[in-house]
């Protein structure tokens, strides 16, 4: 016969296991909510000086890139400033009424400046993996990012794109991301897209 003491110990252990299980599920949920991609933009921090920013907004309707000036406070650090500007641009594409929609969760992870003329833009996998495939639609995204970055970093002459920190052949099967992009050539090619 099982003693009452042993029954009490077993019951206490079962309760403890269940409690720990619930706590584990709770912790996992918290962790996922932290690492989940942010679908909507964060507001730019108001710590830096306020200034004008030009976003080059792509439109699939007429294959155009239109400069749009917004007022915003941006940080002093050029790399962080570049990241926030691109983040704001991508946020526009995530809105429901966007004329150039990107996939949910699309964002820029980092912008690194090797020097004042060379920038490496690290996009997240959500942006690249969910991007629509086609020369024009990919070209609009890449040109839009490059020209918007150039508007914040006027000395920029070349840009290289990475996806989740890794080199990638194309954005979605067409536009080449494996080499540096010459900003002057992008600006020249985009002249006909306004």
């Amino acid at each position: 016969m099982i003693s009452r003491k042993l029954q009490f110990i077993v019951a206490a252990l079962v309760v403890a296991i269940l409690a720990m299980g619930f706590y584990l599920v709770h912790l996992k949920g918290n962790a996922e909510s932290i690492t989940a991609p942010v679908a909507q933009p964060l507001a730019p921090p108001a710590t830096g000086p306020a200034g004008e920013t030009t976003l080059y907004l792509a439109s699939d309707d007429d294959d155009s890139l239109r400069p749009t000036t917004i007022s915003s406070a941006l940080p002093e650090d050029p790399g962080e400033r570049g990241r926030l500007v691109l983040h704001t641009l991508i946020a526009r594409y995530l809105q429901k009424d966007s004329t150039h929609p990107l996939g949910a969760g699309a964002d820029v992870r980092d912008v690194y400046l090797l020097d004042s003329a060379s920038a490496v833009v690290n996009l997240n996998a959500e942006l690249a993996n969910s991007h629509r495939s086609g020369i024009e639609v990919e070209q609009l995204t890449v040109f839009s990012l490059v020209l918007t970055l150039k508007s914040q970093l006027p000395q920029l002459t070349r840009v290289r794109f990475l996806v989740d920190g890794k080199s990638r052949d194309t954005l979605a099967g067409h536009i080449d991301l494996s080499n540096w992009l010459d900003v002057a050539l992008v600006a020249n090619a985009a002249k006909d897209m306004k």
Binding site: R132, S133, G134, I135, E136, V142, I175, S178, M193
Partner: protein
């Protein structure tokens, strides 16, 4: 003894494995000869049975639509429907509801495969085409395009004259004691006995044999020999080397020139355009609609454009004629070694409107006559960028005049950067709201006619520039 030398055993086993892998990697293909196209289809082996992709086989031969629903495949070839089911021998056509394949039909990754042994039966019943299959040589003749070699030994001067009803362009190999002609693209078949003995002081005998995907003619000679081409490629003359060759007709002989000129390899007809249907194989390109993949639209458009160009007398080559994947570098190498004057990459997209023409987005450099200057592979297009821009602008203008909205832009794209001739990429988008329009024969034909007219108008300018 083997136990005493375990390393020897292991090395031998490794070598045998490598050897078997290298043999296994050798692709087997069927070469198809038809009036519409000359192409190859890959053989897939399943459970010891050879299969070929049914869409790969039929697509170049006519208008083909295919739909997969579950484990069933429906094909509509030139308006006639037929149904197949994965793992079943039975299939049906609109004319006959009970037909049977010698082995089960296969559906792999949405692609249908039929047993090789059923090719002729299937072409007749599904496509209404007559076909002859030479199984040992893996050569398929659709619609009787095959022709015979007519060989005649003539004297004064002594020579063996081979006559053909159409121009031929075999690979020629002259060795000590024999002259070897290999016909890969030509549907040449034997005429009478395969071995003919002449017993002549110059010519001992000739043999004809079919090889996998080719035909081979050997002249066994007792003296050094030359091969010359005549009648625009319709005759090949094998003569002793001491015989006085006839003078060449001109520096740039026309296709109809009848004068013979000595050559170890016959003159090739230089293509003017190389068409590159982008994507292929597992690289589907854009998914344009649930039933429409970019790779298939690109290939269908390439074939229409090829027909339109050839009807205008413009020689064309295609980088791919079936659903196979080529790397960007392979496409660039094909273009650069084709001796063509214009490279056109074809794309399609559900986004946008009309036709877009793209050139490479690199800095232009001045063309140079110095062949010894090396250019980086990624910038090889730079001396040709001006020609490419002119070509893109002219093609856009032609599309515009044919009521197809068109615009020109530069884009960072491969393989355009590495192509050493005028190079443009064309992306077609629907005129209306539905991407299904991209798969319609009417729209593709309209684009193909417009591009062909534009390319024909460019011919003189680009050839002069080259």
């Amino acid at each position: 003894m083997l136990k005493e030398h375990p390393i020897f055993v292991r090395v031998t086993a490794l070598l045998l494995c490598l050897l078997s892998v290298s043999f296994a990697a050798e692709p087997r293909r069927i070469r198809v000869y038809a009036s519409q196209a000359n192409y190859q289809v890959d053989i897939l082996v399943r459970d010891g049975v050879d299969y070929v992709g049914i869409t790969d086989l039929l697509e170049p031969l006519g208008r083909l639509e295919s739909r997969v629903q579950g484990d069933k495949l429906t094909l509509v070839f030139n308006g006639a429907a037929s149904d197949f089911q994965n793992g079943k021998r039975q299939y049906r056509t609109s004319a006959n509801p009970r037909l049977e394949l010698p082995s089960n039909f296969l559906l792999v990754d949405g692609r249908g495969y039929i047993p090789v042994a059923s090719i002729t039966q299937l072409l007749t019943r599904v496509a209404g085409l007559t076909a002859e299959f030479h199984a040992a040589a893996r050569r398929l003749f659709v619609g009787s395009p095959q022709f015979h070699i007519s060989a005649e030994l003539r004297h004064d001067p002594l020579r063996l004259v081979l006559s053909f009803p159409v121009p031929v362009n075999p690979a020629t190999q002259i060795e000590k004691g024999r002259v070897l002609l290999i016909f890969r693209r030509e549907p040449v078949v034997g005429n009478g006995p395969d071995n003919v003995s002449y017993g002549d002081p110059f010519l001992l005998s000739t043999t004809f044999a079919e090889l996998p995907g080719a035909a081979e003619f050997i002249a066994n000679v007792q003296q050094p020999a030359t091969v010359s081409v005549g009648d625009g490629g319709r005759t090949l003359t094998i003569a002793p080397q001491t015989a006085k060759p006839a003078p060449a007709a001109s520096a740039a002989p026309s296709a109809s020139a009848s004068a013979q000129h000595p050559a170890t390899a016959p003159a090739r007809v230089r293509p003017f355009v190389i068409l590159d249907a982008s994507h292929g194989g597992y690289d589907t390109g854009a998914i344009l609609s649930p039933t429409l993949q970019e790779k298939n639209v690109n290939l269908a458009l390439a074939r229409r454009l090829q027909k339109e160009l050839e009807s205008r007398g413009i020689p064309v080559v295609l980088t791919r004629v079936a659903d196979n994947l080529l790397t960007w570098d392979q496409r660039a190498v094909s273009a650069n070694t084709s001796h063509a004057s214009l490279y056109v990459a074809l794309h399609s997209s559900a986004s946008g409107h009309g036709v877009r023409l793209y050139t490479s987005m690199i800095a232009a450099s001045q063309p140079t006559q110095d062949k010894h200057i090396f250019l980086p592979w990624e910038l090889a297009q730079s001396p040709y960028l001006s020609q490419s821009s002119q070509a893109a602008t002219a093609l856009a203008a032609q599309c515009g005049s044919d009521n197809l909205p068109a615009r020109v832009s530069a884009a960072p794209m491969r393989p355009l950067n590495s192509v050493t001739l005028a190079a443009v990429a064309v992306e077609i988008a629907p005129l209306g709201a539905s991407a299904a329009e991209l798969g319609t024969a009417e729209y593709q034909q309209k684009v193909a006619e417009s591009l062909a007219t534009g390319i024909a108008a460019l011919r003189a300018k680009l050839e002069a520039a080259q």
